[in-house]
């Protein structure tokens, strides 16, 4: 049992439990904090897959920027008693859980039938480095990379228009 296996089996349950706690907590702030735990677990899993750059980005962008934005909005909204508004209708949760379980069983069956790809017994460590990904991004994927900047610009304009208070 090598370090990678120990790391996987210590982090994967934490990821699942924190995800479950995230969708069951009443208070959205608690949910955000459990989701951050989940994102850190995923970053560790990326490291076990030798995806160093993605792991760092996961912590910086997801656990850092996006979740801070969530916390910021929750605190801005001042939900007050909104945190215990009636999550009524226990009955209608049953078909939702049944549907999700069907999806899970289907995916797991597919994974079980297909199994792991046989090729590539020795995994490349260099593939996930900043150097390797940066090179790929700025040569073969330069156009999509530049289009991403347009996407971010459009998002920025949209957010300002949406969140602006109406004048007059």
């Amino acid at each position: 049992m090598n370090a990678e296996t120990i790391l996987f089996f210590s982090v994967a349950p934490v990821a699942v439990v924190s995800a479950l706690l995230m969708i069951t907590r009443r208070n959205p702030v608690t949910g955000v904090l459990f989701l951050i735990v989940n994102f850190f677990c995923l970053a560790v899993l990326y490291l076990t897959l030798h995806a160093q750059f993605i792991a760092v980005i996961q912590i910086l962008v997801y656990a850092g920027a996006i979740m801070v934005l969530f916390l910021f909005v929750i605190m801005l909204l001042d939900l007050g008693d909104e945190t215990r508004f009636a999550e009524k209708g226990r009955l209608r949760k049953i078909p939702a859980v049944a549907l999700a379980t069907a999806v899970l069983v289907e995916i797991l069956l597919t994974v079980g039938v297909l199994g792991s790809p046989a090729g590539q017994p020795e995994r490349s460590v260099e593939i996930g480095t900043v150097e390797f990904i940066g090179h790929a991004l700025y040569t073969g994927y330069l156009l999509p990379f530049e289009i991403t900047s347009l996407l971010l610009l459009a998002a920025m304009v949209g957010i300002i228009v949406l969140a602006k208070k109406k004048l007059g």
Partner: protein, 100 residues
């Protein structure tokens, strides 16, 4: 070495938890966080395949997914703020003006 199927199974479990969250919760912010969870579980699949096939394209795709997720989170939260300003609630059962 951990088989790829372990990563895929974990990803499937996280995705299912996200689906349950979207379908059962009524708080728009928690529904939104469940969507983020689903995006992340798919990212885990992509990184897993990328690593096991020795192909960088999976990780490039994860990079773009993260850029889209960041914009989507910001726009979605702006919509939630606008909704809250108009309806004073984030309960998605009460937000039904587009329903007929």
């Amino acid at each position: 070495m951990i088989p790829l199927s372990y990563y895929l199974s974990l990803s499937a479990v996280l995705f299912t938890i996200g689906v349950v969250g979207v379908l059962t919760r009524r708080n728009a912010i928690i529904v939104f966080m469940s969507i983020e969870l689903m995006l992340n579980s798919v990212n885990l699949t992509l990184v897993g395949f990328s690593s096991f096939l020795g192909d960088v394209r999976g990780q490039i795709l994860v990079f773009f997914v993260m850029a889209v997720a960041a914009s989507e989170a910001a726009v979605g939260l702006a919509i939630i703020i606008a909704l809250f300003r108009n309806k004073q609630t984030v309960n998605i059962d009460e937000i039904n003006i587009m329903k007929w």
